[in-house]
């Protein structure tokens, strides 16, 4: 057999130079090669391929073996070094175009379990081939990056640091491989830019392809990754490293970050169809903003002269996008970016006109959603902090408008209560010498108080549900009464305020009477139910059968005990409200007696 093969090889060597190889030869070559591979006898194959005299044959026919070789390496992870050597040799000798087609075929539609191994194996070879393509490489680099990225984006992103270290699905390994893959191309762009003749069409295309890849990577996987700020962990965090690599590439390929983030430099290219989906591009930029302003990656080379308000205004678009999602990684990034962007702004400085911008409207709306319906506690906590921070940064007129709008649109007693508390704080601040401002003391405060001190649903108001709002409102009223001395100069608003107060308290009394009657009835029913239940339980024990009856009158997932407690609590709350009402009236009577009230 060996002799036979030698003969064939001799003939091939001649054929390569003379009349060309026939299709049968290709078949024969492939079969012979496969036989070696399948027998695990790759050393011989390597010898053959490396033999100087066989170079013509390898150049013409070697490609055919690649698919099998790659499969072999992936199958038996050990003892494949010769296989790898063969692949390396083929990548260096065969026709680059043909190799590209085969390689791209190889990384298409991979089995999920094979993605990481294949990419780690193929990336260096792809790189070799691309570099051999010389001037024509740019479109191929684009294809290769797109193909690799498509596969990598199928891998699950680690959720915890432990998962990231374990890297069970190989995403982190892939990212490192991709970063290494990019290096020579980035270097080339850099080199060209520095040289005199830089900027040919092919260079520009290479830049565009690299940019596309960077933007894609920011969206997937980095936007989904948990990149928090524990610094010592960063040293081992491969995804954080990947983020650093990507952010270093952008300026290197002449994409200054201010342009990308603030001036929408991508617009032009988006129009030409390269990044057709503008939401996707926007998501990439959102991640970029997060990495830059929250993780401070490459912040040292970011211009420090932008005004904080401008940065906030630009970032608000990204915050809006991030907070409109439901995934934890998006929300967390959005909240952190929001916090960091606000921290740099001076207190009481944001002008009211900013609130006309769509993002400044929708971000607080998203925030309310997070505060009221998001099941993840740490997000809700962070949401509260950032809401307060935002309020603190607003100028007086902006605060006024913001409070008004929140009361009107939030539809949640908890949020409303929180806003009312803020209103009280602002009034309190306004009464301090040196802090007076018209928005929270004079005539301007009336529309705000009118919005706050009312019951939009009239006597049907469920006081238990709107408890937070009512309590804060009463608190505010009490405060206003206690400080009415300080209001002398603005006493023109007192008659009106007095009327608002009277109407409010009148309605509250009606609501209280109705609610109390209703809940007291509920408690009574509950007690009776309890008796019956106890009875049932006793009987059940006797019968050795555990039965559970849940009467869902109010809230379905509460046990009867909890329901009972809630009802009791409601009654206590009503008492509390009532005593506050009485206290407010006492204060105003005292004032009348002492003649200080108007």
């Amino acid at each position: 057999m060996a002799d036979q093969l030698q003969d064939v090889i001799q003939r091939w060597r001649k054929a390569v130079v003379e009349d060309g190889l026939r299709p049968e030869d290709h078949e024969l070559f492939q079969n012979a090669g496969l036989a070696y591979i399948n027998q695990g006898d790759t050393t011989q194959l390597l010898d053959f391929i490396q033999d100087e005299k066989n170079q013509g044959i390898v150049e013409s026919m070697g490609c055919g073996l690649l698919a099998s070789l790659v499969a072999e390496v992936l199958k038996r992870k050990k003892s494949s070094s010769t296989c790898k050597a063969v692949i390396t040799h083929l990548a260096e000798t065969c026709s680059p175009m043909e190799l590209m087609l085969i390689f791209l075929g190889q990384v298409d539609d991979l089995h999920p379990d094979l993605i990481a191994d294949t990419i780690v194996l193929m990336a260096p070879h792809l790189q070799t081939v691309l570099l051999r393509l010389g001037e024509e490489k740019a479109p191929w680099v684009g294809l290769a990056l797109a193909a690799l990225q498509k596969q990598v984006s199928r891998l699950p992103v680690p959720y915890t640091k432990e998962q990231e270290v374990e890297d069970a699905y190989g995403l982190c390994r892939c990212c490192s491989a991709l970063a290494r893959f990019m290096e020579p191309f980035v270097e080339e762009v850099k080199r060209r830019d520095n040289s005199e003749d830089g900027g040919t069409a092919s260079d520009n295309q290479l830049k565009t392809e690299l940019l596309k890849f960077c933007m894609g990577s920011l969206r997937e996987p980095l936007l989904q990754a948990q990149l928090d700020q524990a610094i010592d962990i960063h040293k081992q965090s491969p995804l954080w490293h990947f983020a650093t690599d990507i952010l270093a590439i952008l300026p290197a390929i002449q994409e200054p970050l201010p342009g990308l983030l603030f001036y929408k430099a991508l617009k032009k290219r988006e129009e030409s169809g390269l990044l057709t989906d503008s939401t996707k591009a926007q998501e990439s930029r959102a991640c970029l903003a997060y990495l830059l302003f929250v993780q401070l990656i490459t912040i040292e080379s970011f211009p420090a002269v932008f005004s904080p308000v401008f940065v906030l205004q630009c970032n608000m678009e990204y915050i809006d996008l991030l907070l409109s999602r439901k995934e934890e990684s998006f929300l967390l990034k959005g909240l952190e970016l929001y916090t960091k962007s606000l921290e740099r702004v001076e207190d009481n400085s944001l002008p009211v006109e900013l609130l006309d911008l769509k993002s400044f409207y929708s971000v607080p709306q998203h925030l309310v959603q997070i505060l009221t319906v998001c099941p993840i506690q740490h997000l809700r906590e962070q949401g509260f902090k950032v809401l307060q921070l935002f309020i603190d940064k607003l100028g007086p007129e902006a605060k006024h408008k913001f409070f008004r709008c929140m009361i009107k649109t939030s539809c949640h007693a908890g949020v409303e209560g929180y806003i009312i508390k803020n209103i009280k704080n602002q009034i309190e601040l306004s009464l301090k010498p040196g802090h007076e401002n018209e928005w929270f003391m004079g005539i301007q405060v009336l529309p705000l108080l009118r919005l706050v001190l009312c019951f939009p649903r009239g006597p049907e108001t469920d006081l238990l549900n709107s408890m937070d709002r009512v309590m804060e409102s009463l608190n505010l009223l009490r405060y206003l009464h206690m400080r009415d001395m300080d209001w002398q100069q603005t006493s023109s608003i007192w008659p009106e305020l007095f009327k608002i107060k009277e109407d409010y308290l009148k309605m509250l009394r009606v609501c209280l009477a109705l609610s109390r009657a209703y809940y007291a009835g509920q408690v009574k029913n509950m007690r009776e139910d309890k008796k019956i239940q106890a009875q049932e339980a006793r009987e059940a024990r006797v019968a050795l059968v555990q039965t559970m009856t849940v009467k869902n009158k109010m809230v379905s997932d509460m046990t009867p005990e909890m329901q009972y407690q809630v009802l009791q609590c409601a009654l206590v709350t009503f008492d509390l409200m009532e005593s506050l009402v009485i206290r407010i009236e006492e204060i105003s009577e005292e004032k009348v007696k002492t003649g200080t009230a108007v």
Binding site: S60, E98, F310
Partner: protein, 440 residues
Amino acid sequence: APHTEGAATASGNNRAAFHWRPIHLVKQEGTGTELPMTGDKVFVHYVGTLLDGTPFDSSRERGEKFSFELGKGQVIKAWDLGVATMKVGEISQLICKPEYAYGTAGSPPKIPPNATLVFQVELFEFRGEDITEGEDGGIIRRIITKGEGYTKPNEGAAVEVCLEGSCEGKVFDKRELKFELGDGESLGLPSGVEKALMAMEQGEESLFIIKPKYGYGNTGNSKYNIPGEATLQYKLKLTTFEKAKESWEMNSAEKLEQSIIVKEKGTQYFKEGKYRQASVQYKRIVSWLENESSLPEGEEQKAQALRLAAHLNLAMCFLKLQEPSSTFDNCDKALELDDTNEKALFRRGEALFAMKEFDRARADFQRVIQLYPSNKAAKSQVALCQKQIKEQHEKDKRLYANMFQKFAERDAKSKHLKTRHGIVNKPPTIPYMVAACRCC
């Protein structure tokens, strides 16, 4: 060499304000004669240091000039004030008190709170701001008086404008107008003027230089006696514009109420053939109701119905305006609300057809037929798709055949081999081939 070192001049004309304005030391006089105007794009190099000399930022180190739009609050106050007084070629030192820089908050990690900053700034160039989307230089703005606020009129907004159009020094159009953006054409305004207005703030007065592409094109305008390929100058003052009532100020009930009114308005525009204006109205419905989560039962359905109608109508408007990708998006949104909606499926099919995605178009029309067997229009559309697909297929075949040929030839040349039979294990799939075409 700096020949005026130490010669302190207060920025602006107000010497009395010297002590609190940023201090401005001219190190090297500029060569230019003009000062940059508000809104101009300026290009500078700068080195920033703290008072103790610690550098914190340098564009020179980054190796690229820093650019920003002057006077718009994009940079710290000291810069907006300081650079506005510089001439091209000038090198100046700006010493900025914290209230003109980063104030009490500082800018972590580089700038501590309450820091006085020192910048050495060199102005290289400034030019009018290009307001076109593609930055093709077609509409350049020079702001004469800056406007107020942050919002700009949207399409469809009612605006009040003073305008003065001139061409080669001669004024050809001088009017005070009140109209809705989108209606400009019927008033004899070139598209550039409407684009310009959409970039303006309330009260702003600016000069716009408009290239023929956004002016009267290569035909010119006979009424105003303007030749083809003429560059126009417009001085515009946006006196006021109507801000649509913000969703901020509306609660759910008001939003629903307004949506119904706006829908009627849209339909009216649509009937008049004003598709752009109609689309603006429908978009407002979407923006109001899209994220409205606090609607009570019953109202929720009303809102859904309104949104569905808005998306369907938007899809129709964009078909008329020949913007199929917008039609596609709106149909998708409509189908999210009602996944068997006949109109949505049909219009998406039409959009895909216009985008030359005949396979997907056919799938949509087939779905329509499957759900609504009586829809005859869909049937004829399917036939049309078939025909196009077939033609496309023929074309592709020829194209790919050529391409293989080309590859083979080139490889053969570069390898200096007498003959070659390229073997490709797997037939290459289409995306690779299409892109490969770009390189040959």
